[in-house]
Amino acid sequence: MLELKNISFSADGEEKKEILKDITLSIDESFVAITGPNGGGKSTLAKLVAGIYTPTTGQILYNGVDITNMSITDRARLGVSFAFQQPVRFKGITVKDLITIAAGKKIGVSEACVYLSEVGLCAREYINREINASLSGGELKRIEIATILARGTKLSIFDEPEAGIDLWSFNNLIAVFENMRKTLGGSIIIISHQERILNIAERIIVLNGGSVERDGSRDEILPYILKSGGAACSTLTEKAVK
């Protein structure tokens, strides 16, 4: 169970901009989608939970433990996983190295390959590739998701996992998340603009202008998003019009 209590966050800079305003949420569902317009504070919220940012005010609890001031490493060891929106490249570190680090133990090639195959990468082709500029954005995104699979923690947060992934692979991606939900028995939080991802969520939270605009079950929230003329999420409404 993840609890955010009165979380506010302001970005550093000459003019302090308040990105998140007094957010209180508790998440215990197995699959929660966070959506809303760009700049609404979604990625910031995810980074606060992962420990990349520290809230200006408020408290974050994970399974009752106050993690507000805990380091990224300690949160990761406690069972929080975070898939970056823009995965990081490393010269010299191979796909197998990264998956091994994620798994937290020595794993064989065959085990590493299972995670890669799940995200639709031909394992044999990728296992020894360096995570450098030779990989495309879509390939990096899939490897990023594979690292989260390898970690297998109870709380996994994905920041726009669909970005850069071709439509053909998109079906598989949905299957990956559904499978994760079945096997991990924890919570998956996905930041997404894709109707098809929202469609498999139990609960949808709409963040807009740093505040929770809507929060409820999929059946309650999805029709609202699809109807509202651009206010909530233009990407979705454009899709709905088509």
Partner: protein, 305 residues
């Protein structure tokens, strides 16, 4: 060979005992042991310290190990090694120098290696430098490498200096004939008050010759590094030089790539980048459960691999 020398041998050549194939082990300035094969001859020079390694034309899939081990403090070792690789041969040479300096005095090894590759010969040359010691004496290494590639010859050179060398000046010069190719991968890590200078000079003289000089380095502590790389394109040729460095703590790194085209069909590229470890790289590895220090080590190890 004593225990210290055996450790050094393992560090520089990954060997637990005497190697397979031909070898020449030099310990504390003297010949320790040597083995030749039908195709590979090793002869002690008469006019100066060092050896001639002569590989018969057409020799395939054979290797030569020529480690140098220094375990006495205060020893200044200087050798001239000449390698003659016969036409059409395809061999691997593993060289390296390990210093264990347990005393107060300076230990030094200066090796001058000259490679003469005949027509269509292929060589993979691996060189590792390693220093250790619990004394205050400094470990110095100044390797000079001279490469002459005849028509169609190909040489791949991998050099690494990962630990324990206080001061190094590495000088490599190469001249390439028609269709000859040269690939150099260098990796260096310096720490403490160490200093390292590498100086590459490649002349692409033959038509369709090509060279790729790549250096990866990490500078920690208060160490200093200078990377010089000069490629001259004197014919229709292709040349690429790249220096990529991670700087940490209070270290200093300079990269000075220089390319000169003396022919309208010479195609030359240089790249140089110096920077600290990207914050997001550390963060990513920390989200996978590594501490900041562990993350840093992984990034450095991968970078130098």
């Amino acid at each position: 060979m004593d225990a210290i020398q055996k450790t050094l041998l393992e560090k520089i050549a990954g060997l637990h005992d005497v190697p397979q194939g031909a070898y020449n082990i030099r310990a504390n300035g003297k010949l320790d042991s040597r083995k030749t094969t039908d195709n590979i001859d090793i002869v002690t020079k008469e006019d100066k310290p060092g050896i001639d390694i002569i590989i018969k034309p057409g020799t395939k899939n054979e290797s030569v190990h020529i480690p140098v081990l220094l375990s006495e403090t205060g020893l200044h070792d200087l050798v001239y090694n000449d390698f003659y690789i016969g036409e059409g041969a395809d061999v691997t040479i593993v060289a390296g120098c390990g210093i264990h300096n347990g005393g107060k005095e300076e230990s030094a090894h200066d090796g001058i290696h000259s490679f003469h590759l005949a027509k269509n010969a292929k060589l993979k040359y691996i060189e590792k430098h390693y220093g250790e010691g619990d004394g205050e004496g400094k470990n110095l290494m100044n390797p000079t490498t001279v490469v002459e590639l005849d028509e169609g010859a190909h040489m791949e050179m991998e050099t690494s200096q990962i630990k324990g060398i206080d001061s190094t000046l590495r000088k490599t010069t190469a001249t390439l004939g028609a269709r000859a190719s040269l690939v150099i991968h260098e990796s260096i890590m310096t720490h403490g008050m160490q200093s390292a200078t590498t100086d590459f000079s490649v002349s692409l003289n033959g038509e369709d010759s090509n060279a790729n000089v790549v250096s990866r380095s990490v500078a920690k502590g208060k160490s200093r590094q200078l990377f010089l790389s000069c490629i001259d394109g004197n014919n229709r040729c292709a040349g690429h030089t790249e220096c990529d460095a991670i700087i940490m703590d209070e270290a200093s790194v300079s990269a000075v790539p220089k390319i000169t085209a003396n022919d309208v069909n010479a195609s030359l590229i240089h790249e140089a980048a110096i920077g600290k470890i990207a914050g997001e790289q550390l963060m990513k590895l920390m989200t996978l459960g590594l501490s900041e220090k562990e993350a840093e080590e992984k990034i450095v190890d991968g970078f130098l691999k």
